[in-house]
């Protein structure tokens, strides 16, 4: 699958998966928090001069958080792999996330209480919870979380202030804060939390809206593409039988009535038959293109194919054509096999399109080269010719459907302008790239790079 498609599908991870994935984040962050708490006690006591820090209680809380997190791991495993084998129940996952947020906030408040209360700068950690909630939960729940944060923080501040809870200052220098400071701290916390949640939820809402629009647009494009392919198949299928009949009748006329028709009429008939034939080639190419496009969606069966062997066999079919125009066909292969994950039909199409083009657009007496090389983890195919070349201004259009360079049209009438579009489609489906380099009247080189299996 080409890169750009992976990008879009990545953006469209269903929210269910996103929620469960982020819940797994919580768990990982919490291990860090436990480690941080274990470290904070000695660092605070020895380095920062917080000699009155309540080490025992904080370590006990760290232990509690550790045990809780172990439970979370078990619960989230059970939620991710329900016994009935279905997908996780979104409501349960959301409830689980909310329960984690609630317990986390309680533990954070307890830690703050035992380490200086509102004077502990770690009270800013409430903001983390608020922002994570606005990303994961609904707007209402996020505001609920903000209210809960403020309630817990305010309750702690007021209860400590009025002496209902005993304060635990970090060191002897920390004085009991004044009523004004307590109020200011609560105000500051409240405005910070609600502003943060307002900003985060409105950004999230816009993102979610964009995501929905993108998903809808992507579905529509997919559907359009499928319709186009179906239409192409139908049209080329329906066109084929009448053209076959037309051609058969023209040929029959030319053969059976050649004597009474006269030379000119027979020549016209054979020209008409040739035109019918090029229409047939067109329907065939259209059908191949449509089929290759639908293969992109339903991954075709693939195996590891030795492209050197495939090319050696395939090139035999072009020997006669090359000989007829006295074109020298040069081949070169690496000593090792070139194993690429593909299917025979697709790779044969790539090779035959490039080689037949090279022969078609090379005047008699020229040279066509087909070479495979190994370049690190990729295989490189070069098909070069000493043909008519491509004008520089037309190079960027070479792989577009129905495009034929002007000098190519003049050089030969045959050709539908679909061969290179088909080729590019296949190469990209196989995760490779195709490029062309050309000089007018000197020749062209097509380079295909494919990832090795």
């Amino acid at each position: 699958m080409p890169d750009h498609e992976v990008g879009i599908t990545d953006l469209l991870v269903p929210r269910r998966a996103e929620l469960t994935e982020r819940v797994a984040w919580f768990v990982r962050l919490r291990w860090l928090a436990v480690g941080g708490m274990l470290l904070a006690v000695p660092v605070g006591k020895k380095l920062l001069g917080f000699e009155k820090i309540d080490g025992q209680r904080i370590l006990a809380l760290a232990g509690a958080l550790f045990l809780l997190n172990c439970c979370y791991v078990l619960i989230s495993r059970a939620l991710h792999r329900p016994r009935d084998g279905g997908s996780p129940d979104l409501r349960k996952v959301e409830l689980f996330a909310k329960a984690q947020v609630l317990l986390d906030l309680l533990i954070l408040t307890a830690i703050l209480h035992y380490s200086g209360g509102i004077r502990n700068p770690f009270s800013f950690y409430y903001i983390f919870h608020v922002i994570i909630s606005s990303i994961l939960l609904s707007r209402r729940s996020a505001y609920g979380v903000a209210a809960l944060c403020l309630g817990l923080f305010g309750a702690m501040a007021l209860l400590e202030h009025f002496g209902v809870l005993s304060a635990h200052p970090l060191n002897a220098l920390q004085q009991k804060p004044s009523a004004g400071y307590v109020l200011t701290a609560i105000m500051a916390m409240g405005t910070t939390l609600f502003t943060a949640i307002f900003m985060a939820t409105s950004i999230m809402q816009r993102l979610k809206q964009k995501e929905d629009e993108l998903e809808k647009a992507w579905r529509e494009v997919k559907q359009l593409e499928a319709t186009k392919s179906r239409f192409l198949v139908l049209v080329s299928h329906e066109m084929r039988s009448p053209i076959v009949a037309i051609r058969s009748m023209l040929d029959a006329l030319g053969v059976a009535y050649s004597k009474c028709l006269g030379e000119k009429a027979v020549e016209m008939l054979s020209r008409a038959s040739e035109r019918a034939d090029s229409l047939l080639t067109l329907t065939k190419d259209l059908l191949t293109l449509a089929r290759q496009q639908s293969m992109q969606e339903h991954h075709a069966e693939q195996e590891i194919v030795d492209l050197a062997a495939l090319t050696r066999n395939g090139i035999l079919l072009f020997k006669a054509e090359a000989d007829e125009k006295s074109i020298v066909l040069k081949e070169s292969y690496p000593e090792k096999a070139i194993g690429v994950r593909t299917d025979h039909d697709s790779m044969n199409l790539v090779l035959s399109n490039l080689i037949s083009n090279a022969i078609r657009y090379t005047p008699a007496g020229g040279q066509v080269g087909v070479s495979w090389q190994l370049e690190g983890r990729r295989a490189m195919l070069k098909v070069s010719d000493t043909g008519i070349g491509i004008p520089e201004s037309e190079l960027p259009h070479m792989f577009k459907e129905f495009f034929r360079a002007e000098n190519a049209r003049k050089f030969t009438a045959s050709g539908t302008g679909l061969g290179l579009a088909i080729t590019k489609n296949i190469v990209e489906r196989l995760g490779g790239t195709i490029a062309v380099d050309s000089r007018l009247n000197e020749g062209s080189t097509f380079t295909v790079m494919l990832p090795l299996a």
Partner: protein, 128 residues
């Protein structure tokens, strides 16, 4: 005596075109527009060669006719030339090179058939 060729094909234009070419080369041509009447005609007239279209009203009718021809003790000696366009038109994969073992007809030819190819193939089959 001229050789008898039976064309089984549901496209009247194709039938007429093939008929015209074969008749101009001195063959005696009869035709049928579906599998059933084709088998009946083969039974009755015992042609020297049968040209059979793979796709008629249903996608594999031609194959079924071929099976029946090759199972019939009276008809199995008659060479069958199968005209295909199956490989290109449907997703139905069919490769005469590998699949002819289970479907023992004498030759395959891809539509549209060029007059020269038709005549040379018919001549080759009748000589064998």
């Amino acid at each position: 005596m001229s050789k008898k060729v039976l064309i089984i094909d549901d496209d009247p234009d194709i039938v007429e075109a093939e008929k015209m070419i074969l008749e101009s080369h001195g063959y005696d041509v009869d035709s049928a527009s579906d599998g059933e009447s084709g088998l009946a005609k083969a039974e009755k007239t015992k042609p020297d060669l049968i040209i059979l279209d793979v796709m008629m009203s249903t996608m594999d009718q031609g194959f079924q006719v071929a099976y029946k021809l090759k199972q019939s003790p009276d008809l199995k000696k008659i060479p069958v030339l199968m005209a295909t366009s199956v490989g290109q038109v449907t997703k139905f994969k069919f490769d005469p090179k590998t699949d002819s073992d289970f479907l023992p007809v004498e030759a395959y030819i891809e539509k549209p058939i060029k007059p020269a190819d038709l005549i040379s193939t018919v001549e080759r089959l009748l000589r064998a």
